[in-house]
Amino acid sequence: MSAQAPNVPPESPEQAAETGTLAARIWLRQRSGGVLVPVFTVVIAFLIGGAVVAASGHNPFTAYHDILDGAGLNWFAHPTTDTVNTAAYNLTQTLLATTTLILTGLAVAFAFRCGMFNIGGQGQYFVGLFVANWIGTSWVSMAAGPHVVLGIAAAALAGAVWAGIAGFLKATVGAHEVISTIMLNWIAYWAGSYFIGDGGPLQNSANASLPVSNDVVPGAQLPVFWGDQVLQGVHIGFFIALAALVVFWLVLNRTTLGYEVRAVGFNPEAAAYGGINVKKNLIRAMAISGAFAGLAGGLDMLGYLYRISVSDIPVSQVGFLGIAVALLGRNTAVGVGLAAFLFGALLFGTTHGLQSGSIDPQLASNLTYIIQGLIVLFVGADVLILYVWNSRRRLRRRAQVVA
């Protein structure tokens, strides 16, 4: 990663700040921090989270221990295939959450590498959910294999189109993608409420009083490879998510498309000078980005949710968590994978691991969001952390000079 030749003087900070996009600058700063900074960030976030727990009158160590157990991480100490075993069950749930977060994280990371901030992962995830539900509840007699593939592909495509709208608006009229993706989130949100709500096209056909969709037919459900399907086992979508990490890396580093994405992300003007069509790349990168989030929705729907109710919509946060995953994961494939696992474990561990004795129940479900918020805050405060780190080194060197 750091291929800087040893005989090159460090470039001036002004130079770094002068050129390139926001993405380029953050990228540069993050590279200078290495892997230490994200690890440090997580540790501090956990410390502060612990302080909050302590302030509420509970023992933070017990709370974190419970979260670890709740996330099923104690399974690694006593591995067993028995899924009735609580640790194994908890781990399957953590992996389910990880699957989703890998993909929503990639959705943010890919756009980021093209110099854009995709806040719309949540909306793209929603359209993926809805489309997969529609495909999965229609064509009941379709063969299982094609039905699953069609459902997943349609969900990814829907996410791509949804995000592509924001890319198109940016490329043509210059609408900022942060604004337009937020707007699109709300459109997806309310469109979903209409689809599933009273009289909506996706509403339950058997019981018209329930604001719930139909169930995905068994033929369109993803095979479960670990755990009980009735109790939400880990479906093969987990491997699709892992494959997506590999694809993400390959596309960015081993294809001309990825070269264009990175060139535009770092310096659109130089990219245009190089003969790259910048507008096309903005639209395409957003679409690919949205495909990841749409895929997340598709896998969730066909993998374990099977149905969605109106009340599920406001609760869903995985698209937004993807932002934290991408930021913490440095927008790299490996980083996103690890960060997704961390947040997946937190998400399930806090909601299911914490007994009311070890933590204030009001706090339990919110601890993930506290830690998430702190991590996002600290990622933004990278400069500060690096500055403190460097000035410490400066001080030490000064002390040596004096001595």
């Binding site: 800087q4 390139g20 380029a24 070269y259 770092f266 130089a270 190089g274």
Partner: protein, 507 residues
């Protein structure tokens, strides 16, 4: 001779990881003197001045101010000790007025807390009158010219009580006229007893303004000489460490077929203002056509139109006889137009990319770099390694980040990329801006070589000297029109006159 030194720096040493930026550097500044610090990019001038200004801590050596040893922990200490620095990149707040910027950090107040707006303006007016630095204290910084912004920076330093003024490459951002005005300002500061350190790598300037000249090379002091007796040649030799050819040697041109044909070209800028009006000219194989002109007279828009980066509103462009209508940058590249852009960091390179990736910037999607959309990084690296050797790029290998290279080597990467594509037409826009003597010599020689290879070269430069020494034909651009054309020996005065619009009616 008992000279009084206001500043002595002795045995200064500063190391960065892997490089000794200052190695036993000594520098003395007499009261009321203009002392030039001359050296190539990366010679250690900026490092030395950053140490003096408290931005870096020296690893060794001592600094004496008025005979007393001092140590600066920060720029604040240096400012309090009477040192002011005007950086290459100005540090002004564009939305504030000139007066507000100048008093920032040390504001006159009334009633204890409120900014004394009129008091500030008054003091700024006093200062600017005393030193002949004409600038309106009530103007917003965003609305004044670069030259005026520089005066604001100087005033800011004076306001804080600077006796020693460091000017870091002050003319790099100025037009020739503004540079002349700056020199007058420097002389009036000098007359007032201020001591000035003038950092530059331009020989003619240094010889014009400095009383003494200290030359740095690779982090070491080479010599300190008085202006009397110094010549451009002797200074260049000290800077580079070998004999340097300051004049370009070129045999007469052997022009061939017309490769670039521009007819009645009309280009408007983003605001819809006409920047290039009915421009027509030809560039033939084996000749260098220079376009002279003061900055902002349509050069950038002309280049953008020829390279496809901006759509021409009217007119035709033919490359090697083929008409290119509303061509995209990609189409112009494919038609055989190479382009060394005027802003190498903003446009010519993706600084975060490696050298290898930058060399592939035009051809990344074509074999052998890629096939069916699949990229072969090892082939990029292989090609880069070859070009790095061929074009003598120093400071890193194929995987080195382009942003980590010196300006001269960045330019070599661009030149290597453009020339290796074997273009028919090569557009060189300000190819030597910000480069040091050695790199300029290399680039000029290279351009003449490429001309002799049979390329049509269009040279756009703000430095008249460069145009005069390289071009076989010269066109003068003024307010978007060609107002003069010269072949063979052209007089500098005449072209300079036309550049300011002097012969517009006659043309």
């Amino acid at each position: 001779m008992a000279e009084e030194f206001v500043l002595e720096m002795r045995g200064i040493r500063k190391e960065f990881p892997g490089i000794v930026a200052n190695d036993d550097v000594s520098f003395e500044l007499a009261r009321g003197e203009v002392h030039a610090l001359l050296g190539e990019n990366g010679a250690g001038k900026s490092t030395l001045m950053n140490i003096l200004y408290g931005l870096y801590k020296a690893d060794g050596g001592e600094i004496r101010l008025g005979g007393r040893p001092v140590t600066f922990a920060s720029a604040k200490d240096a400012i309090e000790a009477g040192i002011g620095m005007v950086h290459q990149h100005f540090m002004l707040i564009p939305v504030m007025t000139v007066a507000e910027n100048i008093v920032l950090g040390n504001e006159p107040v009334r009633d204890g807390v409120l900014l004394d707006e009129s008091g500030a303006e008054e003091r700024v007016r006093d200062l600017s009158q005393r030193f002949g630095l004409a600038v309106d204290p009530t103007a917003l910084v965003s609305q004044i010219t670069v030259g005026q912004q520089q005066r604001v920076e100087i005033l800011k330093a004076l306001y804080r009580g600077a006796d020693i003024l460091i000017l870091d490459e002050p003319t790099a951002v100025l037009t020739p006229q503004e540079a002349i005005e700056l020199f007058e300002i420097i002389r009036s500061l000098q007359a007032d007893g201020k001591s000035i350190i003038f950092i530059s790598h331009k020989l003619n300037e240094v010889l014009e303004i400095a009383d003494r000249i200290t030359v740095l090379r690779r982090g070491k002091t080479i010599e300190t000489v008085p202006r009397e007796g110094a010549t451009q040649e002797s200074l260049a030799r000290a800077m580079v460490g070998r004999e340097v050819l300051l004049r370009v040697e070129k045999p007469p041109a052997q022009p061939g077929a017309t490769l670039l044909e521009v007819r009645d070209l009309l280009v408007v800028d983003d605001r819809g203002i006409e920047k290039v009006s009915a421009v027509s000219f030809d560039v033939r194989a084996g000749e260098i056509v220079g376009i002279a002109g003061v900055d902002g007279n349509g050069q950038s828009e002309l280049i953008d139109a020829i390279t496809g980066l901006r759509r021409a509103a009217a007119g035709t462009i033919k490359v090697a006889g083929r008409e290119c209508v509303h061509a995209t940058p990609r189409e112009m590249l494919d038609a055989g137009v190479g382009h060394i852009p005027e802003d190498r960091q903003r446009r010519g390179l993706v600084l975060e990319f490696s050298i290898a990736e930058n060399i592939a910037l035009h051809d990344y999607a074509d074999p052998p770099d890629a096939k069916w959309g699949w990229l072969f990084p090892s082939r990029l690296v292989e090609r880069a390694r070859m070009l790095i050797r061929q074009f003598d790029v120093r400071g890193g290998g194929p995987l080195t980040r382009a942003g980590g290279l010196s300006g001269g080597n960045q330019q070599k990467v661009i030149v290597a990329r453009e020339i290796s594509r074997d273009p028919k037409v090569l557009i060189a826009a300000q190819p030597t801006r910000g480069l040091d003597v050695g790199a300029i010599e290399y680039l000029h020689r290279r351009l003449v070589e490429e001309r002799d290879e049979g390329r049509a070269i269009l040279l756009i430069s703000l430095e008249l000297e460069e145009i005069l020494s390289l071009s076989d034909r010269i066109l003068v651009l003024y307010e978007g029109r060609i107002v003069g054309e010269h072949e063979g020996e052209a007089s500098e005065e005449e072209i300079g006159f036309e550049m300011l619009g002097g012969k517009r009616e006659a043309a």
